[in-house]
């Protein structure tokens, strides 16, 4: 019986092969097919990575919700939902074109608005590339909501989201990354290294966050008249930790995905990303242990993020051992930065400026210092130039924008609204209706 089955199968396979073999493969058609398969793999990897980076929005939402008070949870979630949603639309309309459009000057793009590069019968790569880029733009935008938490007017924040995804982020992005598509940037032309965006994404977000926190002022009750600082503890450390783990996972799309190519280089990028995060978490924990007497959870979590931000620039051009060092420095840096900001009375409820701004700068510098091919004064010089250019563009523009919003529709809620909680005053709701959500810390 078995023999018959084998004979029939053999006949069937031969018949199918004969029929399918009408186009016998040639060397040229094989080559085209191979290129197509690689093309398809590139699409696949880029879009999977884009989905991972999108998931970082959940990470940010959970970190920010966990590190702030329960009475403001709905507001934080709304801000996170909206800075992604509004950012997406604005980036589709204007941002992408400014960042990646044809750029005669090297300072901003002038084509590709409303995804005009896409035609239904044309190359859909622009769509995959846009998808990957929009989640990056949204990452920069959502960094700011953490620093401005618990006292920012919802409408003011939405206006800001439009500003950051429509102007601030794409302009600087065009300087560093424009040539990845149709544009070209003056900064990348000098050899600026920022593979996945320590500066382009994280420092832009971090400095905008700093501007916002400064214009807003601190939360009521955070800094007392006698100069002392009162902690305002977050309401849910498990959510905060969940957020950090989600961000760590998403970063495996953020960094390796920036190749937008499915090739072997993503392996080292994965490893560098993980090592830097781990080193950052450990060193932040150790630093907090020395400084405060016990290993502190929120600083350790911030440390992991700091390591991730710091490796983002150099993830493709430093060795794994260097990644560990970069992460270690980031972990120490973030703790001291958080303490410094409190000393100068800039209230940053989740440490966004310290994680993203400060370590974005460190990571960019580190990408020059630890460059696998060796470093030179020139390389480091360009890195420093990029770091400075980012700050000098982002911070003043964001400051002006926040001041404008403040003068027109108002940026900060009233003291009564702040005391009552934004969930009720801005959204008429309660994130935890089954529980008593009243904090009796000052306000």
């Amino acid at each position: 019986m078995k023999v018959w089955i084998h004979i029939i199968a053999l006949i069937a396979i031969t018949a199918v092969n004969a029929w399918a073999g009408d186009d016998t493969p040639t060397a040229l058609s094989n080559k085209e097919a191979i290129i197509l398969v690689q093309d398809h793999a590139n699409y696949l990897w880029t879009l999977i990575a884009a989905a991972l980076v999108f998931f970082m929005q959940a990470g940010f939402a959970m970190v920010e919700a966990g590190f702030t008070r329960a009475k403001n949870a709905i507001n934080i979630l709304m801000k996170n939902l909206m800075d992604f949603s509004m950012g997406s639309i604005v980036y589709w309309a204007i941002g992408f074109g400014l960042m990646f459009g044809a750029s005669g000057t090297g300072w901003f793009g002038t084509s590709g608005f409303f995804l005009s590069d896409f035609t239904p019968d044309g190359d859909p790569w622009v769509l995959a590339f846009w998808m990957f880029q929009v989640v990056f733009a949204a990452t920069a935008a959502t960094i700011v909501s953490g620093a401005m938490a618990e006292r920012t007017k919802f409408t003011g924040y939405m206006l800001y989201s439009i500003g950051v995804c429509g102007l601030i982020y794409p302009i600087f992005g065009s300087w560093a990354w424009g040539s990845l598509f149709n544009g070209s940037g003056w900064l990348e032309g000098l050899g600026f290294i920022d593979f996945a965006g320590s500066t382009v994404v994280h420092s832009v977000g971090g400095w905008a966050a700093l501007a916002g926190a400064i214009v807003l002022g601190p939360r009521i009750g955070k800094y007392l008249p006698d100069g002392s600082m009162r902690p305002i503890p977050g309401h849910n450390m498990p959510l905060g930790a969940l957020g950090v783990f989600i961000l760590w996972l998403g970063w495996f799309g953020f960094n390796p995905g920036s190749t937008t190519t499915a090739d072997k280089s993503i392996a080292m990028i994965f490893v560098n990303t993980n090592l830097a995060a781990a080193a950052g978490a450990i060193l932040a924990m150790v630093t907090s242990w020395f400084k405060f007497g016990k290993p502190e959870v929120s600083m350790s979590l911030n440390g992991a993020l700091a390591g991730l931000v710091a490796i983002t620039a150099g993830c493709a051009n430093v060795s794994p051992a260097s990644a560990v060092i970069i992460g270690c420095v980031a972990g120490v840096l973030v703790v001291f930065s958080v303490m410094f900001l409190d000393k100068i009375k800039v209230d940053d409820p989740v440490g966004a400026v310290s994680v993203h701004g400060v370590n974005g700068a460190w990571g960019t510098l580190a990408a020059g210092i630890f460059n696998i091919g060796g470093t030179t004064a020139g390389i480091i010089g360009v890195q420093l130039l990029g770091i400075a250019a980012c700050f000098l563009w982002t911070f003043p523009v964001a400051l002006v924008m926040f001041k404008l919003i403040d003068k027109t529709i108002g940026l900060r809620v009233s003291p009564e609204e702040e005391a009552e909680g934004l969930d009720f005053s801005e959204h008429g709701g309660n994130a935890y209706p089954d529980f008593e959500v009243s904090s009796y810390a000052q306000s």
């Binding site: 009720f424 008593e436 009796y440 000052q442």
Partner: protein, 112 residues
């Protein structure tokens, strides 16, 4: 001995605690409560439906003090817990029959 119960606005707790500390009251018990008097609650919305939340979060402070101190404590609480706005709360004073410190067994004035 007198027991003093004060229902106050939550964000006033630290002010009251500090003020009481200054006049020599070193201990107290607090509970998170809800209540309303003349202060009305507010309306909340969920998925298109409105609902009234009548009870407002408050903090209740329980203290037992020497009868001689009682008036001063009441005045201190009244001053430090006041925001001038509706919903500031109320203070009640009642006599205490006995007080005992669990660790040492002391009773009466030594216990408070």
């Amino acid at each position: 001995m007198r027991k003093i119960e004060a229902v106050i606005k939550p964000f006033k707790l630290d002010d009251v605690k500090d003020a009481l500390n200054k006049i020599g009251v070193k201990g107290m018990t607090i509970s998170e409560v809800k209540g309303f008097g003349r202060q009305k609650g507010h309306k909340e919305t969920y998925r298109g439906a409105e609902y009234q939340v009548d009870f407002v979060p408050k903090i209740k402070i329980d203290l037992v003090v020497d009868a001689a101190m009682s008036d001063q404590v009441v005045a201190t609480i009244k001053e430090s817990a006041s925001s001038g706005k509706i919903g500031d709360g109320k203070i009640f004073v009642m006599p205490v029959g006995e007080a005992v410190r669990i660790r040492t067994g002391e009773s009466g004035r030594e216990a408070i």
